[in-house]
């Protein structure tokens, strides 16, 4: 009972965070600054969805490559699916801010791009895309839970009940389950790449409708894997450090996921650089204007250096060290800083398109409070999902330390 009490007190904190975030958002939206409110909303929608999508990707990836080291971490990463329905609702809500987050939707000559860039079509295609991605994620999860011998005949919760109805008391052979998981994992990863590319083009790149970078889609999904791993490290470290949980990880696993995180730190920087070098060589005003505004003009140029340092330089040099990767508390702080850096990177990408004439950096306490609300939503989703499926957060017995 004491445990239940602890859970509900946390629950209240997270609901309070959501209320603060939503309150700030509503206050800003109704008090004459809707642009600011919707900008913060868009950035947070993108980053928290990416954490959930990238977190889930970890499990599908490990399953596909038949990794043996990642057992308990995979289970934990599947809990990020709890944010999928939230993300879908958040995307639908974005529709109301369409006029504020899509500068091209009013008074822009799109030179024929109207066919692609119009609000009804954009929302329809992105909604379908997200629906497919999340559907595949849940499909994979459905079989993954069966393989973990989760007995859905008991227990409460909407998703658990849904799984019970779907399963209908049938028991499949483990080989059959594995085969279906193989297929769904690969389909999820394929959808991840395509859907995240589409989201990147539609919700970030197209805010400046005349700027094109072919690799922007790939850059978006690589970034999603990077923040997804960061989110998973934080989640695993919190679960590991809390003695109330029946979940521990050997330091070798923290070391391994730290290495993967380090690798994606480099991949992210690489995808950033390969876009930059092509634009630099081409030197076409249509392409360079976007970069110049963000890395050479006040106030954005300072932010650009901060993003580069926090998301790449600092993690890179720290993660060269082996011992650091085995320290959960330290990795948690580092991953949180990196995610904050990627938050600022989103601001750097969408900010200049949404507030052209800014002389000072449009960043304030309101953005922090709105982000807090989204963090609350993520924590609520994870908590509710783990309470429905406590089996996901158990240390696998066969693991060796």
């Amino acid at each position: 009972m004491a445990d239940e009490g602890m859970k509900s007190s946390y629950w209240i904190v997270w609901v309070a965070m959501v209320v603060i975030g939503f309150g700030t958002f509503m206050y800003l939206a109704t008090s004459g600054h809707p642009g600011q409110a919707w900008k913060a909303y868009l950035i947070n929608f993108l980053i928290w969805s990416a954490i959930a999508q990238g977190g889930m990707l970890f499990s599908t990836l490990m399953h596909t490559v038949k990794a043996k080291w990642s057992g308990s971490l995979s289970g934990l990463s599947e809990a990020f699916a709890g944010f999928f329905p939230v993300s879908l609702i958040l995307f639908l809500f974005l529709f109301f801010g369409g006029a504020h987050v899509f500068p091209w939707s009013h008074g822009h000559d799109l030179h024929g791009k109207e066919v692609w860039l119009n609000i009804p079509f954009l929302f329809t295609r992105d909604l379908i895309a997200l629906f497919i991605l999340y559907g595949l994620g849940f499909g994979y999860l459905y079989y993954s839970l069966q393989l973990k011998n989760v007995d859905t005949t008991n227990g409460k919760g909407i998703i658990r009940t849904l799984f019970r109805i779907l399963q209908g008391g049938r028991q499949l052979e483990p080989q059959v389950i594995r085969k279906r998981m193989d297929m769904l994992a690969i389909l999820y990863m394929l959808a991840f790449v395509l859907v995240l590319s589409l989201i990147g083009y539609d919700l970030v790149m197209a805010l400046d409708p005349h700027w094109i970078s072919t690799l922007f889609g790939a850059y978006t999904f690589v970034k999603a894997i990077y923040v997804g791993l960061g989110g998973l490290i934080i989640f695993a470290a919190v679960m590991h450090l809390n003695p109330k949980n029946d979940f521990t990880l050997p330091s070798s696993q923290f070391h391994d996921i730290g290495k993967l995180f380090f690798a994606f730190c480099l991949v992210w920087a690489d995808f950033f650089y390969v876009q930059l070098v092509v634009i630099w060589y081409g030197n076409i005003p249509e392409e360079t204007a976007y970069v110049i505004e963000r890395v050479m003009m006040v106030p954005w140029k300072y932010l650009a250096w901060v993003v580069f340092a926090v998301s790449f330089v600092i993690p890179f040099f720290i993660l060269l060290n082996k011992k650091v990767k085995t320290m959960p508390a330290f990795m948690m702080v580092l991953a949180a800083c990196m995610i904050a850096g990627i938050w600022l990177e989103h601001l750097l990408l969408v900010g200049p398109s949404l507030s052209h004439s800014a002389h000072t950096l449009p960043l304030g306490i309101n953005d922090v409070l709105i982000s807090l609300g989204f963090l609350g939503l993520m924590l609520l989703a994870l908590d509710s999902f783990l309470r429905q499926f406590p089996e996901l957060a158990r240390t696998e017995k066969r693991e060796v330390s």
Binding site: L276, V277, W280, Y281, N283, L320, K322
Partner: protein, 168 residues
């Protein structure tokens, strides 16, 4: 003064070798050398070996390579001073590629140098007190004792399941 005798215990399993090493550490005999047919964590732990220094060679190689790559690109570009399509002669953005490639190359070379020096290669003389079975499937543990204590050392190896070879 008694003469030192060199005795080698040859073991077929890792655990036996580890047990023999631990037995030797508790005794007053001197442990000289260990041969292992596989890289063994258990033996490293039993011997309290320090962490390998090869990583430092790799890091130094990488740092050196990073600057060497930029230096090569900058120096060769400045040698000709050709301005191509309005780009600066010292164009740092594309030189990152050269810097990166050299970082990788020099890190690998540094790693190789580290490996060779840390494993004390090349070795031009044959080892003293060596048994050829160590090149096969056996773990070899070489220790020395004073001549009158031979039997004690002998029985330590035998108790741990080893074959014993006494060197003259």
């Amino acid at each position: 003064m008694a003469i030192d005798k060199y005795i080698m215990g040859l073991f077929k399993s890792e655990d036996q070798a580890v047990a023999a090493v631990q037995g030797l550490k508790e005794s007053h005999w001197t442990l000289h050398r260990i041969h292992s047919p596989i890289p063994s964590h258990k033996l490293s732990e039993a011997l309290n070996l320090k962490t390998s220094k090869v990583g430092w060679f790799t890091l130094c190689g990488g740092i050196l390579g990073f600057f060497a790559g930029f230096a090569l690109a900058i120096l060769t570009a400045e040698r000709w001073d050709l301005i191509v399509s309005g780009k600066p002669v010292r164009a740092l953005v594309p030189f990152v590629i050269v810097g990166f490639e050299f970082t990788v190359l020099f890190a690998i070379l540094g790693n190789l140098v580290g490996f060779l020096t840390q494993t004390r290669l090349p070795r031009l003389q044959n080892l003293n007190h060596y048994d050829e079975r160590c090149s096969g499937e056996h773990f070899g543990v070489l220790a020395s004792c004073q001549e009158d204590q031979q039997e004690g050392l002998h029985s330590l190896f035998v108790e741990n399941g080893g074959i014993v070879r006494v060197f003259d």
